[in-house]
Structures are given as C-alpha cells and as structure tokens.
Subunit: 266 residues, 2 copies
Amino acid sequence: MRMSRDRPLSATSDRLEFVALPAIPLVKPGDDLVDLVLDGLAAAGRSLRQGDVLVIAQKIVSKAEDRYVDLRRINPSSRARELAALCCKDARLVELILSESTEVLRCRPGVLVVVHRFGVVLANAGIDHSNVEPASGAERVLLLPKDPDDTCRCLHEALRLRAGVDAGVVINDSAGRAWRNGTVGIALGAAGLPSLLDQRTRCDLFGRPLKASQQAIADELAAAASLLQGQADEGMPVVLIRGFSAPGTSAPAASLIRPQAEDLFR
Amino acid sequence: MRMSRDRPLSATSDRLEFVALPAIPLVKPGDDLVDLVLDGLAAAGRSLRQGDVLVIAQKIVSKAEDRYVDLRRINPSSRARELAALCCKDARLVELILSESTEVLRCRPGVLVVVHRFGVVLANAGIDHSNVEPASGAERVLLLPKDPDDTCRCLHEALRLRAGVDAGVVINDSAGRAWRNGTVGIALGAAGLPSLLDQRTRCDLFGRPLKASQQAIADELAAAASLLQGQADEGMPVVLIRGFSAPGTSAPAASLIRPQAEDLFR
C-alpha cells in the first residue's frame, strides 16, 4: 500500500534550504541589524522572500544592544560571594548572573543554573565571554539581549517595511539541557511564526486525534540554524531558512517557556 | 572591520538542504529500510552522495522491526496497577512502559516519565499508538526500536555496500523536555557522524579556548528533520540532509546520554 500523494494540507513543506549569510561584519553597539541582514542577503545573492525565516545568533543581538558589562565595575553582594564559593566562579560574574535571574536552580562546582528573568533555564544566565572582543583594561562579558521577543518583533516589522515581505525572525542561543550531553540551539526570541505549533486538533494518518502534540517549531528552527552557525570560530551568525511554512497564529518564544507550576523538573 | 573570508576549517558548511523523500510507503514488519530509502531517493530524483545524512523517523524503524505489542496479551503487575492509578493510564500500557525502562522519574496524573533501557528520558518510554494501523481485534501499540544505534550502524553499512557512499544515519523521535513547552526531534540512534561534537580544544574568534562546548550535532540534525516530518498526517518519515559536514570521529547517539551521576535534574 502506497501513501497517497494527495497529502492533506501539511504543517510543513517537503524541502528546506539553510544558508549562512556571508560577509556579516563583527557587530558593534548601535549597529543596525536590519542593515547587516540585508547586506548579508545581498552578499549571498539572495533577496528576502515571503515566508523566509532568519535565525540570528544571540551574540550579535547582544553586541548591537551594547549589553557589555565590565566586571571591574561590579561589587558582589554577600549572597553572590557565597554562591561563587560554591560554584567556583568569579563573585562579580555571579552577582551579574543573579541580577539577570529570578531563581537559582542548581549551584555546584563549575555549575550555576538559573531561571533567567525572561523565564528560560540557562547556565550562567546566558552570560559569557567567548567571541567577546577584548577591550583594553576592561574585563568584559556580554549579557543576553534586553527582550529577545521584542527585538524579533521590531526586526520583523523593519524587514516588512524595508524588504516588503513577512519573514519570520528567531534569535537563538546554545543551551545545555537536562538528561542529555551537549548543547543545542534554542529560540530566545521569535516573531512572525508560531513558536509552538499546536497539533492537538489534528489527526494521525488513521484519523485518530493526536495526543501530546505541541511541536516546538521555533526551537527546531533554532537548532537547525545552529548546525551552520557553529559555536566557535565560524563567525556565521545569521542563517536564512527558505521553504518553511507553518500554519497558525504567530506566537513569541515566550510561549515555549513551561510555567513553573507545570514543570516537574526544577 | 569585516570578518575574513578565509575562515579556519569549519565544523560546518555554509549551506544545507533538507529534502523529505516522497513516496515512502506505509512500512510493514520485515520491510527493508534500505530499499525504502533508496526508492525514496530515486522518487526524489536524487542519488546518495558522500557525506549526506539520512534522518529516519523512529516509527517506521519500529514498524519494520515488528515492535508491535497487543495490549490484550499484557498482564499488569501490582506495581504497574499502582502507577497506572497514579498517572491515570491503562495498567497494561504501564506494565509495558516498565518493561522498557530502568527507572521511573515522575508519575503524576497524565504523566509517566521514565529512563528508557537505552538511557533516554522519555514520557511513556516512547510507546504510543499514533500512526499505528488498527488491526482487527487487537489493541496495538508500538515500542521503540530494539537498539537504534545498532540499526543505524547496519543501515550505514548497507548503504555503503549498496550505494557506495558513506552517509550518516540518524533515527529520530519527538520528545518532551524539562523547562520548555512542546516536543523537539532528538536522536535515538546515529552512525557515520559525530553525535556529540567536542569543541573544547577549539578557540573563539579571538583565539580564546571555548568553555562549555560540546555540541549535540545528532540532536540538532534530528530537530531539523522533524520540521519536515511533522508529527501528524504528513507521512514524510525520511529526510535527506545534504551539505552537512562535521569533523571528528563517528560516535553513536548513546554519547548524548548524560550519565546519571552527572545529571542534576532527575
């Protein structure tokens, strides 16, 4: 028995293309990310199309938003000093992590896992200094963007005005996970696409309603883009995804945060 | 300051193509998955190339391996009955879940999260009945494949013999996560690629050694393929990924399992 080629309207297409945009310069505070993206598209010989998705690495968004902090200006609290002793980290960094967080989930030697103020569970509140340019006399680290969903909304709107198309925008970061080794790309922000695709009203191939069926679309796009971005010296922070289409209403990455009351693994 | 175009040897390429293979028939016990894949590639007008990755949905592997169980033949133990009462599930299904697991992590109304015998943390040990054909008089469910890493090794070897190329093979499934809503594709099995890419010896753009830098490549490939496979009635269980290259030694999906002693979130 062969499957019918007349498939029902699908949540997805049957072909996707991922292109890491070339010639993205090192980003400085105040840089216009829409300029960077449109220049990168031009360098790749592409123009933006309706339904394209752009995945942008958190790091360049943070740099454009000047989220640098000089650790020399941080005066750690006594709580930060206590935690720093437990997790063997710089007390000034721990103070910053606490200021970006709402809750400490785990503190062990080498490990500080917190709930970031926008709800994502992350080691070190997502603060790091890899790929942060050294500045003379400063000990710079880089915080996450101020409000990634809002940044995505602004970028989505700016791209609509300047390129004339509705493109999805995702800001991604690499994150560790419970139970599994290694990091994967996750969506910190999203606009112009349904971050969480609710399939609970859909049926399987045999017409039975699906059960546990919310698909974390924005996280899957973020993970896929991460394959091209790499985490080290690739310097490919923007990925164009062509061919993806998901039905449903746009929802921000905030919809991917499991409410604390429903989370059995904190 | 523009990034040099002479980038160091990258873990990744700058373009990926994902193609869901058409014309994959409904799979029956005993079917040869290599035949199915090669037929699907032919129907897509493609031939397999060195370095291609094939992502295959767990469900068709389980079907080919005849991992069906008729619930009517299951006699639940007293422990299964107790847990079934707590999580409001069929006691026969709970008995099966226990037989596929090494540890119960959470049991609440509607929720039974276990450590599967091959180490993956999964709701219901990955057993379900969506897209399982009804059989007259039977109450069929489908277990995960017997040994997904081993199946991937066999498929990798068979593709090498029959198509003459080394292609990566991943078996993926959709899994829920701690902290975040929605499922994402994860790798249950892998061969012919480094499931976990260790970047701890690499440097960032400014020559500093990277810190927490193991990238869960096979999970990111699994999540990306899931965007095309969907979870419902799409019937697109095999995805060809072209353009991906990762340095390093092949490692199975088992390398993605965090050892219990290092897991702070069980």
